[in-house]
């Protein structure tokens, strides 16, 4: 039977697999779909930004170096927004890097299995809380605390410090969980060898495990910075509205994301300088976060210590 070539032919004819091809086509489309998203982001942000810079009285150099952002009088200098973004992110990282790293080291190197089982879900809950809730927390808890510490007169109701500190709490679980993964991936044999030479747990951690996991830790920190720069709701609620070129974190100043959220909050008319400006700022934001993300991934890939 099998040697009969006719039978073989009929089997193949029956199974013309057009449906498999169709399915494969659809799956390929779904796979490629994400590329469309990226293309759409770049195209739309780019197109509207070009329109923005094509408007009379606006050019790229003024945009990137101007220190006043007052659309009413035609001043579009992004530095006040950028500075405020940097200040809030700075305070966010000031909180989240040491605490996140400390928590990661504790969980990976010190905690017993039982403690880890309790603590990790708590950090996951912290990571799952929506950012608008953190914004609420910044405004109704952190700001009054800061005002009690530094004096009512010195701290504005909306201020960058409060937003930054709460942002730190928000980013903490990201840094701790990514760093913990990196620390955990360091093989036990390295630790055992160091312990065998008489090192204390701290020496093992700081001189053996941490250097071995450094690429993962740095990648986590960069990703944290990118998250801080792109964070919107905390700064929209607590950092103040209205661009303000100031280095004083106790004052209110609008960040890039805060500006975009405020301007588009109302019914924004198309093809106005305001409308186009959110695309220009969005483009800047997109580039900053993209670069941070790409470096982060590159570091974690390139400098990953490979054992066996």
């Amino acid at each position: 039977m099998i040697t009969n070539p006719n039978v073989k032919m009929t089997i193949f004819k029956k199974k013309s697999r057009w449906n498999e091809k169709l399915i494969r086509f659809f799956l390929t489309f779904a796979g490629i779909f994400s590329i469309f998203t990226t293309v759409a982001i770049v195209y739309e942000l780019g197109k509207e930004s070009l329109l923005f810079f094509g408007l009379p009285g606006i050019d790229l150099v003024d945009f990137l170096t101007g220190t006043t952002w007052q659309p009413v009088i035609g001043k579009f200098g992004v530095l006040p927004l950028l500075l405020s973004t940097i200040i809030t992110s700075f305070f966010g990282m000031l909180v989240s890097i040491p605490l996140g790293l400390g928590a990661a080291i504790f969980l990976s190197e010190y905690a017993t299995q039982k403690t880890r089982k309790v603590l990790k879900p708590i950090l996951e809950i912290l990571a799952g809380i929506p950012t608008v809730v953190y914004g609420y927390f910044a405004l109704t808890f952190m700001t009054p605390v800061l005002r009690a510490i530094f004096g009512q007169g010195n701290v504005q109701i909306y201020n960058m410090l409060s937003a930054g500190l709460v942002m730190g709490i928000m980013i903490l679980p990201l840094i701790s969980s990514m760093s913990e993964d990196a620390l955990h991936a360091v093989p036990q044999s390295l630790r055992d060898a160091a312990f065998g030479l008489g090192a204390t747990r701290l020496e093992v951690t700081l001189q053996i495990v941490l250097p071995a996991a450094l690429s993962g830790v740095i990648a986590a920190i960069l990703l944290g910075i990118s998250r801080a720069v792109g964070e919107t709701m905390i700064v929209a609620v607590a950092a103040g509205s209205g661009p303000n070129f100031t280095f004083n974190p106790l004052k209110g100043a609008e960040t890039m994301t805060g500006y975009i959220a405020r301007i588009s909050g109302g019914d924004l008319a198309y093809d106005t300088p305001d409308y186009n400006s959110i695309f220009a700022i969005g483009f800047l934001l997109f580039i900053i976060t993209l670069i941070l993300n790409m470096i982060s991934r590159k570091i974690s890939r390139k400098y990953r210590e490979v054992y066996e």
């Binding site: 779904a30 953190y134 909050g265």
Partner: protein, 414 residues
């Protein structure tokens, strides 16, 4: 070197000294690491407590109109028809008309009528409020404050999170505002997100894990692209949604092509599509991990029996990966539930009293209401924002527990 190490007393002394120092340092740092973990836990507790603190507490209620002037007997004792005449005689004609339009006054229940009398005729309002912990620890302070400022007010305990809050629509008066519209909006929003993102995301994951393995270059590009998209700030997705779904596709997203009139593109459909793009990278990555975890022996066995690639995927790979895929999907959906920034950009309405009637309605969502109420100056709005946060957090936690239970059960079955 050798001479100094050869000397036993030197070595002993030095190492002893060093050891003490080293151990001191070690225990100091151990405490530091423990402290930073503790701070994270304390931060979470303070966060939750501060929200609970605002969502409950003492309030002072004062009537704007004199009760005795409106009716001789207490309003609670009036009959249904008396209540109707009371309402008709005290409210403006227009207000009575709108009330009648919602539901004729004569057909309303006694309870309903009483609440209209309380809220609109007598106008009893919360004039001052006190957070929970202060209410418990120093209720006297509040009593003094109220006695000075509002001598006629009565003080009672109020839970801002109550059944009424869940079932009422938006209002300008904090104690009458509710989040029904926002809850419905949020549910509709995540439903659209789910319907769009789930098939697309799972298909993309199947493509990347099962088909594209040979086409390494294409799959590498897609993979890098997905990783990059996962890191794009949510507000950028909002801008994209505004430009594409709200503006370019406005005839579609406003429902104009389907004969729905009177909308612009700022509909719940636009928001849902925007949210789908946002959660897609997360969903794909999670689904990929679930598919990757299916042992290869299953595939080989299926191929060995003569199944085609799709038959293998549909009958063997997907059923095995499904619990993981669903868990990942729930996590992605929780992300969509809490996102606020893209909705602001896409144009969620902050003040809306009508429930969404379909995918072409304008809408609001729970996080939008939280944002809106938080940014208002009055303390009472902060309190209902806190109540809304509790609703949102409760929903997120129940979503996540479903995911965890699911995961554990599927692991047990294996």
């Amino acid at each position: 070197m050798t001479s100094s190490f050869g000397n036993p007393t030197f070595l002993e002394q030095n190492s002893d000294l060093n050891l003490e120092k080293r151990q001191k340092k070690a225990s100091f740092f151990a405490a530091l690491f423990r402290l930073s973990t503790l701070i994270a836990v304390v931060a979470l507790s303070i966060l939750l407590l501060s929200i609970i603190n605002q969502a409950f507490g003492l309030v002072a209620i004062q009537d704007k109109q004199d009760r005795s002037a409106i009716s001789q007997v207490p309003v609670e004792q009036l009959s249904q028809s008396e209540l109707v005449t009371l309402i008709e005689s005290n409210l403006t004609i227009n207000r009575v008309k709108t009330l009648d339009k919602e539901k004729p006054l004569t057909e309303r229940s006694r309870k309903d009528l009483l609440s209209i009398v309380e809220n609109e005729v007598i106008q009893s309002r919360v004039v001052a409020s006190y957070p929970l912990f202060k209410s418990i620890l120093t209720p006297g302070g509040f009593q003094n404050e109220v006695a000075q400022k509002f001598p006629q007010a009565t003080i009672r305990f109020k839970a801002w999170l109550n059944p009424q809050f869940l079932t009422k629509t938006m209002s300008n008066i904090p104690e009458q505002a509710g989040i029904r519209t926002a809850i419905l909006g949020s549910f509709l929003l995540i439903l659209i997100t789910l319907l769009v993102a789930f098939p697309l995301g799972v298909s993309a994951a199947i493509f990347l894990e099962e088909y594209a393995a040979s086409e390494t270059k294409l799959s590498r590009i897609i993979q890098t692209n997905i990783d990059n998209l996962a890191g794009v700030p949510s507000i950028i997705y909002g801008i994209l949604g505004l430009a594409i779904f709200v503006r370019v596709f406005s005839t579609f997203t406003s429902g104009e092509v389907f004969g729905v009139e009177g909308n612009n593109g700022r509909t719940i459909l636009s928001a849902g599509l925007t949210m789908s793009l946002l959660v897609l990278p997360i969903l794909i990555t999670n689904a990929q991990e679930a598919i990757r975890a299916v042992p290869n022996s299953l595939r080989l066995a299926s191929y060995g029996l003569g199944a085609t690639q799709w038959q293998t995927i549909w009958h063997h790979v997907l059923p095995n990966a499904l619990p993981g895929i669903l868990t990942g999907t729930i996590l992605a959906i929780s992300r969509a539930l809490g996102e606020t920034a893209p909705l602001i950009i896409v144009g969620a309405a902050t003040y809306i009293t009508k429930d969404p009637t379909g995918i072409f309605s304008s809408f609001t969502a729970i996080p939008i209401q939280i944002y809106n109420w938080t940014t208002r100056p009055q303390a009472e709005f902060r309190s209902i924002a806190a109540a809304a946060i509790l609703v949102l957090v409760f929903m997120l936690l129940s979503f996540n527990s479903i995911a965890i239970i699911w995961r554990n059960r599927s692991q047990k079955n294996r």
